[in-house]
């Protein structure tokens, strides 16, 4: 199990050090600093083993957070824990920065004590933690309250406390997708996948039970089979539209989802925690609707000159609008001058990144835009330029995987408000992950 947690600033000074087990000595703190933070060449692997001690670390802005152990533990669990710890801290004091950590170190130690016990991860749900770890001063709690907390922590539904009341029962559903792409210069897709997640904000009274339906092929197929084959029209509808169901490669749920039910009849039902949480994560690789296409044209015109032409085409319904579009065109390291012409947006040569950055604020569907650049080079025959790919970032208001929310039903048996009375909001956002085109 986890032996200790350390946090360092960018210079390698220790900000937080919490040791849970005796097998981790003080020298482990220095070992990590010397062997990972201070080494000249960057260490690129997230797990480092120094003197039979394993270090699992992540870096958030300029802060290194490391989990240390002498045992052979589940690495995925460590990273899950690290990310969860970061999430908890962010919800308490905002951005993770050296200053924030220094100002909140008492709180951080308190949190670390709560979410890890003798190296075993405990409840890390923000909502629940906030009920008994508060930033206000010590408040004497009545007996009832303390017993409530104990019940809460040890009870069956650890993520939601009882007796929540809202005047307006409301819930928000965000489908967030990240498209990753690698395309050849000729426009052939070399690899593409979508990583998506569903984030939910619930403001519901009591202990509501929710049912969630999506256009997953598997769910729909099994439904189709289980419902009588006589309802042919329904079956035709699903099969015929083709795009209406998607194949999900991978799926992962929040702990509140009843997995046994999902196993038996592929229905997603859960009692949601109060406030914001991530309901599920998924991944798809088939039939991805790529929102943008980049067409590069690179010509080396004689000695010391290069011409680059880049065309960006938007490939979605013309009624929709893409936003925050940024194309990053790498330039050779011996560039000494760049002239740029573009009709739409703003383009700039950024010497510090060795790249041309082209920004377009908004762009409608089914349109195209062009940039041409002339690059002057310093004569240098020795090293051939490796031509790194052109990368792109954007945001579009639909799910590139074709993911659809079919329904979300809320049942609260004790308090009598019905499904129809709750107000539901659904939003789709498609963002770029690593969206690259070779040139």
């Amino acid at each position: 199990m986890i032996g200790g947690v350390f946090m360092y600033n960018h210079k390698g000074e220790v900000l937080i050090s919490r040791i849970y087990r005796d097998d981790i000595g003080r020298n482990a703190v220095d070992a990590f600093r010397v062997n990972v933070i201070h080494v000249r060449q960057q260490v690129r692997f997230p797990v480092v083993n120094i003197a039979r001690t394993s270090f699992f670390y992540i870096k958030k802005s300029n802060i290194w957070i490391a989990v240390v152990t002498k045992e052979n533990i589940n690495a995925a669990m460590c990273f899950e824990f690290l990310n969860k710890a970061v999430e908890v801290m962010q919800s308490y004091f905002g951005k993770i920065s050296e200053e924030n950590i220094k100002n909140n170190f008492v709180l951080i130690y308190e949190l670390l004590d709560e979410i890890l016990d003798f190296g075993y991860p405990q409840n890390s749900d923000v909502g629940i933690l906030k009920t008994y770890i508060t930033q206000q001063g010590v408040k004497s709690q009545s007996k009832e309250e303390t017993s409530q907390i104990t019940n809460q922590v040890t009870g069956q539904i650890g993520w939601r406390r009882e007796g929540i009341k809202y005047r307006r029962n409301e819930l928000f559903l965000d489908v967030l997708e990240y498209v990753n792409l690698l395309m050849s210069p000729q426009g052939q897709v070399l690899s593409a996948h979508v990583a998506g997640k569903i984030v939910m904000k619930s403001y519901l009274s009591g202990m509501p039970e929710c049912k969630f339906g999506i256009n997953d092929k598997l769910t729909l197929d099994s439904k189709g089979k289980s419902s009588a084959s006589g309802t042919e029209s329904a079956g035709n509808l699903v099969g015929g539209s083709g795009k209406s169901s998607i194949a999900i490669d991978d799926i992962q749920f929040h702990q509140c989802v009843k997995l046994s039910k999902f196993e038996s009849d592929h229905s997603i039902s859960f009692i949601p925690p109060d406030g914001e949480f991530e309901l599920m994560k998924y991944r798809t690789t088939k039939d991805i609707n790529l929102p943008f296409r980049v067409i590069p044209l690179v010509k080396e015109t004689g000695k010391g000159k290069m011409e680059v032409k880049v065309i960006v085409k938007s490939n979605f319904k013309s009624t929709l609008i893409g936003q925050k579009i940024e194309v990053r065109i790498p330039t050779p390291p011996n560039t000494c001058g760049v002239q740029l012409i573009c009709i739409k947006g703003k383009a700039k040569y950024k010497a510090s990144d060795n790249a041309i950055v082209w920004k377009i604020k908004r762009m409608g569907g089914m349109k195209e835009s062009q940039l041409s650049a002339e690059i002057e080079l310093m004569s240098n025959e020795k090293k051939k330029w490796t031509r790194p790919p052109i990368s792109m970032s954007f945001e579009v208001p639909f799910a590139p995987s074709g993911f659809k929310v079919r329904y979300l039903k809320v049942f609260e048996p004790k308090l009598n408000y019905s499904d129809n009375e709750t107000i539901k909001w659904v939003r789709y956002i498609g963002r770029s992950g690593l969206y690259e085109t070779r040139c």
Partner: protein
């Protein structure tokens, strides 16, 4: 001289540097650098011409980025442009950039060299110095080629400034290191040497380093520097510290220069000119005396400088090694340091004393400090100092103090640091062996050694103990008794068990009379350790047990019981299993006679140098090496005791087990020379012929013709060998087929042939040489129908220069038509002329015959060929120019002059035949080293044929007159 302008700070540069310093992360740093690089690129590419200041600034930035660890692949051109500038700062940055960044195969090199040339010929001394520094910093071949001419000129020219000369000397030094063949010769020599006389001490110091390396490459040419160096040294030494203002360092006049001169002098033997010699001795004496004076300052630098000079002076004294007076004084001075409070001084004192101890003059003086050294061993806190103390004790040990030193070292061993223990064990073992008068003392010491530091006793050490015990009959009983007692300790080291097992197995019978160590007690004692030992030791113990069966038949039952045990008979270790099975069978099947033969006591080991010595030599660091050289040269022995012990058993066993079948169907194998199995004595004749055929000797004459008369046989030997035996015969019916002397000379070039043959006896010889050692295998074939009895081969012992040691024979009878092999170990002690001889004796039918046999061992057999290039050859050739070292002979060709044949003859002679060395391709030259136990001799030769006159001129040079002479004799008339 224009000092660097103040306030010439480049603002852009300092802003950039502070930006970089303020970067919070590596990524930020890289971003900033990329930005700066792009900026510099635009600036350099831009149409505007940059002025000198800007160029300098950007080049500086590039340099800074490079030093941060980023690749810089542009800006060289701008840097080279800076070289043209007339401003010191710009030129300096240009040179700096070039020396730091430029890689050697840059295409700008030519331009740079041109610029450097311009600067070298400039009037401004600062520019010249900058250029020289740049040359030295780059210091590649190209630079060496380009400036090999200019720099020596600068160095000796009258109108160069002193500082420039100084740089020039050091620059030349660097170039000579990269390109030694470019070193100035001829006219430059004297002028460079005379730099030692320069007024400016800085120049002298720099020149000293230069001359030192030149001297190392070509000592002869620079011999003249000795007298100059001595006079310079004496001027420094006799001066007071006020004389050299700039070169006095904490009241010591010119310490660096003094040290360099003293080192320089160590390249040469002591000066021959008595006046120089006495002057040098005076200097050294003064230095020693100055060391006695009170310190002029309490600062550490003062004593450091002073001691540096002192230690170098002592090194020189040791190097000269002929001034007892100085040596003793030096020794006393070092003695003072032994108890100095500075650890470094103590270390150095011990180290130097180690060298002093090897000199015959100061050995006694060193011995006076024995107490202090032993004390140092015990109380010293620094381990490296303790190690030096051990070295010194080892070096100062001789017959008089050996006992005490060994005792002290043994005592110290118990507390010694782990990683010097093994070395100490070796040292103790060597000293104990070398200076043992009383071998019981030796046995005691060695057993103690194993007891105290068993883990650190290497194989060689305990092998050696056994060798000595086996070879010395007088200590065997004592050794058996002592190991028996030692084994009684409850916990014994495994090495002790090994030694104990071996010795009791061999000599257990010597103490069996005492009821306290009766056979059964011995056996049970050994067997109590058996289960605690490694498989290797168990194997050895099993052999001991089977030897016990032979020695004490009364405990046969117990031993057989042990051999029958499951864990032996079915051991997972194959070796243990095999031994148990075989020994068990042997003990059950064989009768007492066979057992006695098979399990006979081990024969003495051939006397050879201890292998421990060689192992310590391999390990050792400089001080030990010098000691090693003074000791005898040793061959590393490969066979070890344990193998010997087993081998014999194994051999005999295979004969005993498979006897009848094998020996009859023996056609394909050569007959065994071993005669103790009764069936092995009559090998088939065809076999013998085949055997001889293999060796290339003639087929022996038909057996029938051998005469039956004893008298005849006797006379035969007396005639052939010219040594009278009792009966002088009237007629010698059988002329020897080959006369010994004729045949003898052919062995100069071959190692395997028939040495002698007549109707009665044939002697075949095979020689193997390795460095200073040789092994001769003499095979005697008895062609008569009689048995030669009491056969023996002994060394005549009248040749001290080549020692011959016959190995003990397994049998001393040669039956009719069979042969016997005698192995002789030969050691070349020093160069020799007379071939070694052995005395061969035997009796036939009651008549004694004896004759002396010349062994074909010549000086050239101990040659190792040496390959070298032309330059080294002629350098060495020139070095051996003293009268007597060269021997020459002109002789007529015996054979038509054939190049290939001559070359082959020379190679067969043992040295190398090198091609492409001599300017005349007809000539032959080459080199070789003669190994003797005392010394190695390098020999060089040139053979110049003259085709018209059909004559040869042979010139041989070596460092000893007698060697050159002998080699000429041997090679004479061979062409």
């Amino acid at each position: 001289m224009t000092p660097p302008v103040k306030g010439d700070g480049m603002r852009g540069l300092s802003v950039f540097i502070s930006d970089i310093r303020n970067c919070k992360s590596r990524e930020a740093e890289i971003k900033r650098i990329n930005k700066e690089l792009a900026n510099i690129r635009t600036k350099f590419k831009g149409d505007k011409t940059l002025d000198g200041y800007q160029k300098k600034k950007y080049v500086c930035k590039l340099l800074f980025i490079f030093l941060l660890g980023h690749d810089i692949d542009f800006g060289q051109k701008e840097a080279v442009n800076l070289l043209v500038s007339n401003k010191y700062t710009e030129k300096q940055i240009g040179y700096l950039f070039i020396s730091v960044i430029l890689n050697h195969e840059s295409d700008l090199m030519r331009l740079i060299i041109q610029n450097i040339k311009n600067d070298l010929s400039s009037r401004n001394p600062i520019f010249i110095t900058l250029a020289l520094q740049c040359i030295a910093n780059i210091g590649n071949r190209e630079m060496a080629d380009a400036f090999a001419q200019d720099i020596p000129k600068l160095l000796v020219s009258g109108d160069t400034l002193d500082t420039v000369k100084q740089s020039a000397a050091l620059c030349l030094l660097k170039l000579i290191r990269t390109a030694p063949e470019l070193m100035p010769t001829g006219e430059w020599t004297t002028r460079i040497i005379h730099l030692l006389n320069d007024q400016h001490l800085g120049v002298v110091t720099a020149a000293c380093s230069l001359i030192d390396i030149l001297v190392k490459r070509n000592p002869e040419e620079y011999k003249a520097c000795v007298s100059l160096a001595v006079s310079r040294l004496s001027r420094i030494v006799t001066s007071t510290y006020t004389d050299f203002q700039d070169y006095t360092y904490y009241f010591v006049p010119a310490p660096w220069l003094s040290v360099k001169i003293l080192r320089l002098l160590q390249n040469y033997p002591p000066p021959e000119d008595p006046s120089i010699k006495s002057r040098l001795n005076e200097c050294l004496d003064t230095i020693l005396q100055k060391a006695q004076e009170a310190l002029k300052s309490k600062k550490l630098q003062h004593s450091n400088a002073k001691n540096a000079v002192l230690f170098e002076a002592i090194n020189l004294i040791i190097h000269i090694d002929s001034e007892p007076n100085l040596l003793v004084k030096a020794c006393n001075q070092l003695g003072n340091f032994l108890s100095h409070k500075d650890t470094n001084l103590r270390y150095l004192a011990l180290e130097s004393m180690c060298l002093l101890a090897t000199s015959e003059f100061s050995h006694e003086a060193v011995k006076k400090h024995q107490e202090t050294v032993i004390n140092a061993l015990k109380t010293e806190r620094d381990i490296s100092v303790r190690q030096r103390a051990v070295d010194l004790l080892y070096a100062m040990c001789d017959r008089t103090n050996a006992e005490e030193i060994v005792k002290e070292m043994l005592a110290y061993l118990e507390t010694a640091d782990y990683h010097i223990r093994e070395e100490m064990v070796l040292k103790v073992a060597i000293l104990a062996e070398k200076y043992a008068v009383d071998y019981t003392w030796y046995v005691d010491i060695m057993l103690n050694l194993i007891r105290i530091a068993g883990d650190y006793v290497s194989e060689e050490v305990w092998y050696r103990v056994i060798q000595i015990v086996v070879n010395r009959t007088d200590v065997q009983g004592y050794a058996a008794k002592t190991v028996f007692e030692a084994l009684q300790a409850p916990a014994c080291h495994e090495n002790m068990v090994k030694v104990g097992g071996y010795i009791l197995g061999e000599f257990g019978n010597l103490i069996a009379g005492d009821p306290r160590s009766s056979p059964l007690v011995q056996f049970e004692l050994l067997h109590s350790k058996y289960h605690l030992c490694s498989p290797q030791t168990r194997c050895l113990l099993l052999s001991t047990y089977v030897k016990f069966i032979n020695l004490f038949s009364e405990i046969k039952q117990q031993i057989q019981h042990v051999l029958k045990q499951e864990n032996n008979l079915k051991s997972s270790d194959v070796e243990i299993q095999q031994r148990s099975v075989e020994y068990l069978q042997l003990s059950m099947i064989a009768d007492a006679d066979v057992l006695a033969t098979v399990l006979e006591e081990m024969p003495s080991f051939p006397e050879r140098e201890s292998s421990i010595l060689s192992s310590i030599l391999q390990k050792k660091k400089p001080p030990m090496e010098t000691i090693g050289q003074k000791e005898e040269k040793i061959e590393k022995t490969t066979t070890n005791v344990q193998n010997g012990h087993e081998a014999k058993l194994g051999q005999v066993q295979s004969i005993a087990n498979v006897q009848p079948v094998d020996l009859i169907g023996l056609n394909s194998t050569p007959p065994s020379t071993k005669n103790h199995t009764p069936t092995a004595v009559t090998p088939l004749k065809s076999d013998q012929e085949a055997l001889l055929d293999i060796f290339g000797g003639p087929v022996p004459a038909p057996v029938q013709s051998v005469p039956v008369s004893n008298n005849n046989l006797d006379s035969l030997f007396s005639d052939t060998f010219g040594v009278p035996t009792q009966v002088v015969s009237e007629v010698s019916q059988f002329n020897p087929i080959l006369s010994i002397q004729d045949n003898h000379m052919q062995f100069i070039f071959t190692n395997v042939d028939t040495l002698f043959e007549n109707e009665a006896l044939k002697i075949f010889i095979k020689c193997e040489f390795k460095q200073n050692l040789a092994r001769l295998t003499l095979t005697f074939l008895n062609k008569t129908n009689f048995v030669f009895q009491n056969f023996s081969v002994e060394s005549t012992g009248n040749n001290d220069l080549v020692r011959v040691l016959p190995r003990a024979l397994e049998t001393n009878a040669i039956s009719s038509q069979s042969e016997l092999a005698q192995i002789l170990n030969v050691e070349c002690v020093n160069d020799f002329i007379e071939c070694p001889q052995v005395l061969v004796q035997f009796s036939c039918e009651g008549t004694q015959s004896k004759f002396e046999l010349n062994l074909p061992v010549f000086l050239n057999k101990f040659f190792d060929p040496v390959q070298m290039d032309s330059q080294t050859f002629f350098t060495r050739w020139k070095n051996l120019a003293n009268p007597g070292q060269e021997q020459q002979k002109i002789f007529k060709a015996n054979f038509p002059i054939d190049k290939d044949r001559n070359s082959q003859t020379l190679i067969n002679f043992g040295w190398s035949s090198l091609t492409g060395i001599d300017p005349n391709p007809e000539n032959f030259c080459g080199a070789g080293i003669i190994h003797t136990s005392t010394q190695q001799y390098g020999c060089l030769y040139r053979l110049e044929p003259n085709r018209q006159a059909q004559m040869y001129r042979l010139t041989i040079r070596s460092n000893k007159e007698s060697i050159s002479k002998r080699l000429v004799e041997l090679l004479d008339n061979q062409f």
